[in-house]
Symmetry: C2
Subunit: 119 residues, 2 copies
C-alpha cells in the first residue's frame, strides 16, 4: 500500500525490451519497459495487453495498419492479434497484462524474457 512513482522506477534501469514488474493486482502485472528499435512480430493466444506511453512515441504495427501512440495515450491489443512494437526513438511504456504473459508471445527468440525482475 505504498505509492509507486513511475519516473523514479524508470530511472532504475536502462535496458531496452526488458519489462520490469512494478505492481501486481488481480493476477495482473503492472510493468515498465523502455523500447528502442523494432521488436518482433508476435501474438498472445490468451492475454490482452495494454500499452500506455509515458514518454516518447510508440508505433504499434498491426498486419493491416499502424497506430501511433503518444504520451498520455494507451492502446489495448486483444489476444490473438499479431503486433510489433516499434520505437524510432526511446519510448517509455507502462504495460498492464496477466502475470503469465510472455513478452514475445508465440515468437520465442532473442527478445524473450522468461523471468522478469521486480523493481
Amino acid at each position: 500500500m505504498n505509492k509507486i512513482n513511475i519516473s523514479e522506477k524508470f530511472s532504475l534501469f536502462s535496458e531496452y525490451w526488458s519489462p520490469k514488474i512494478v505492481g501486481e493486482l488481480n493476477d495482473q502485472h503492472v510493468k515498465l519497459a523502455k523500447f528502442k528499435g523494432e521488436f518482433v512480430w508476435h501474438k498472445h493466444d490468451n492475454e490482452d495487453e495494454l500499452f500506455m506511453v509515458i514518454k516518447g512515441v510508440l508505433k504499434m504495427e498491426f498486419r493491416d495498419k499502424t497506430e501511433i501512440v503518444n504520451e498520455n495515450e494507451f492502446i489495448i491489443v486483444p489476444k490473438g492479434v499479431e503486433h510489433k512494437p516499434v520505437a524510432d526513438e526511446e519510448v517509455w511504456v507502462l504495460l498492464f497484462e496477466p502475470k503469465e504473459t510472455l513478452n514475445t508471445g508465440n515468437t520465442i527468440g532473442i527478445f524473450t524474457k522468461e523471468k522478469l525482475d521486480k523493481i
Copy 2:
C-alpha cells in the same frame, strides 16, 4: 485496437465520483474518474484496485495512515483493505480493476454507481 487519448476522454465529462469505462482487457476495466471532496470509507472483498493520478493530488486514507499520490504515481489498494479517497482540489484518476468492482465496495449509499458509462 484504436489508441485512447486520456486527456481527450477526461474532457468528455465533469461529474465527480462517477467513473467512466475507457478500456476493457482480461476481465478488467480501465476507468477514468474525477474526484473532489471526500469519498466514503469502504473496502472491496474480492478486488484489488489501482489508482493512477493523471492530474492533481490524491490523498488515499487508510485506517492507519494516509498516502499522498501525486501526478505520475499510482497506488494499489489490496482487496479487504478499508480506504477513503480524498481530493482537496479536483483530481483526475485512472483506475484498473476487475469489471465487477463496485465503486463504493461494501458501503452502499449515495455515491454508489451501479451502472457505469463507457465513453
